[in-house]
Every structure is written in structure tokens, then in C-alpha cells.
Symmetry: C2
Subunit: 159 residues, 2 copies
């Protein structure tokens, strides 16, 4: 196994472990539970769920394999704080989006050649990339995996 | 920059970002705040702080550059749940240990040649490593970074 493949495998394993844990947690949680705040006065489960979907739905654009499937989610679950917008998707709608976004990523990641992870991500220029080749597609995946772990640690408090 | 160096840099950057954020949070938090539960009935800040110190203090053994500095912490902050042991270190003592453990890691990581990260970690055999070369020292670092992000997401709820 060459170095690129080994490294890509480590990062993809870590992503998949976190994603699978979060998916299992959400599938085993009732709508009622996900509508609760993770701690008094803090974000609700539904907001964190929507937030993660919105962030992960943007990955195809940054990694260069397509457009967002749910471009309206960002305004609700990234820009706006929780409990400031009246009309948001239901937990049931978010469950479908969660499955769809993560299935798409799993499918695309499985087809992505190892060397492509080492190319620049789409939101930076060639010149910047030359200065810092560590800012590649794989670094985006590593950052998003930590972001997911961070919020999953919070979601888990619902149980 | 070769692939090994690029990848090691991504993983080390991610570790350092999470560590720096957690250190800043702890330094800016009062002892009183860290003695609170992160949510009603859940772990206290002091427990999560001790838990992270204990896990990170074991890294030198797994990565092959030394022994644990605080071998007694595991029984208090890993094996035992929070609020089950009467005599635990004070927040002030844990602050010193936090700084010492993370300074040591930063120093050792800065000296570690990139290729060493791609060797097997110390808790697995050569035969297992041959079967799965992705289970190397770098994969341990990636896993611990996600573990840190997970608990840091919880610690942040204290604020």
C-alpha cells in the first residue's frame, strides 16, 4: 500500500467512524428527543442535526464533485442561531436529508482516487496552494471530521 | 514537500488547533466554572479535563517516546465515572498537569521525523501492522484529535 493510500485510508476511516456513530445515534433517537435542548438554554438536537447536514452538504462543492443538494439549509442552520427562525424543516425531513447527504458522500469518497485528495480544495487559488500544500482536499476532510466529533459530543448529551 | 510530510502536517495541524482551543478555554475558565456539570446530571468540567489529561498522558507510550507522567490518573478519570471517587486532584493541580502533558507532546511531536508517524503504534504487533498499515502512529493521533474535539464540544457548554 503506498503512502497516499495509507494516509487517505486513515482520514476516511476516521470520517466514516464519526459519521456512522452520529447516524446510529440519530436513528435511535425519537423526534421528541431531538427537539430537546442539549443543555438548558443551548442548541436543540434538531439544530445540530441541521447544522451538520448543511456543512456536509457543502462538501461536494469544496471537494469538486458537485453542487449542494439543499442550498437553503445554510441560512437556517449555519448563519442563523437556533430558535431564531420559525419555519424550519421537521426532524422527519432532516432524517431523509441526513441519509441522502451522507450516502452521497460515502459513494463519492469510495470512487475518489487517492491522489485527488492531495490536490487543492476548490475554495483556494493555485498560488495559495503552492505556498501551503497541506491545505488540500484531505485537510478539509480532517477538519470536517473534527467538527462532526465536536457537535456529536454535544448531541450525545441528549441521552 | 513530500506526501509523508504533507500528511503529517495536516494531522499535526488538526491536533494543535484542537489542543490550543481547549487550552485557551481552560485557561479562561474559573475553577468554579470547571467544577460545574456540563449539563444537569452529566460529567463535570473537572472530570473531562482530567479525562483528556489521562488519555493524552498515555500517548508517549503508544507513540514510543516515553512513559506516562501521571499513571494514577487513569483509575480516576478513565476507569471510574465522574462523582464516584471522593479524592481527586484539584482544578489547580490539573491545570499544571494539562500544561505539562501538552507541552511535552508539542515538544516531542516537533522533533519526530515524518516517517516515524508511518510506523506501527506500540500497542500492536508487526504481523497485525503488516495486515493493516493504516493502523500506524498517525492514525492514533487522528483518533485522539477526534476524541479531544468530542469532549471539547461538551466542555464548551459550560460557557
Amino acid at each position: 500500500m503506498d503512502q497516499q493510500t495509507v494516509l487517505t485510508k486513515i482520514a476516511l476511516n476516521a470520517w466514516q467512524i464519526q459519521t456512522d456513530r452520529a447516524t446510529k445515534f440519530i436513528n435511535e433517537s425519537s423526534d421528541e428527543l431531538l427537539l430537546k435542548e442539549i443543555a438548558p438554554g443551548k442548541n436543540r438536537g434538531i439544530y445540530l442535526m441541521g447544522h451538520l447536514i448543511a456543512i456536509h452538504d457543502a462538501l461536494p462543492e469544496i471537494l469538486g464533485f458537485g453542487k449542494k443538494a439543499y442550498p437553503d439549509l445554510g441560512a437556517i442552520f449555519i448563519t442563523a442561531p437556533d430558535k431564531t427562525i420559525d419555519k424550519i424543516p421537521t426532524v422527519s425531513e432532516l432524517r431523509d436529508m441526513w441519509a441522502s447527504v451522507h450516502d452521497r458522500l460515502k459513494n463519492e469518497f469510495s470512487k475518489m482516487p487517492a491522489e485527488k485528495w492531495f490536490t487543492r480544495h476548490e475554495s483556494m487559488t493555485d498560488a495559495d496552494f503552492e505556498k501551503d500544500p497541506a491545505r488540500n482536499k484531505l485537510s478539509v476532510l480532517v477538519t470536517r471530521t473534527n467538527h462532526l466529533a465536536y457537535h456529536f459530543g454535544q448531541l450525545r448529551l441528549l441521552k
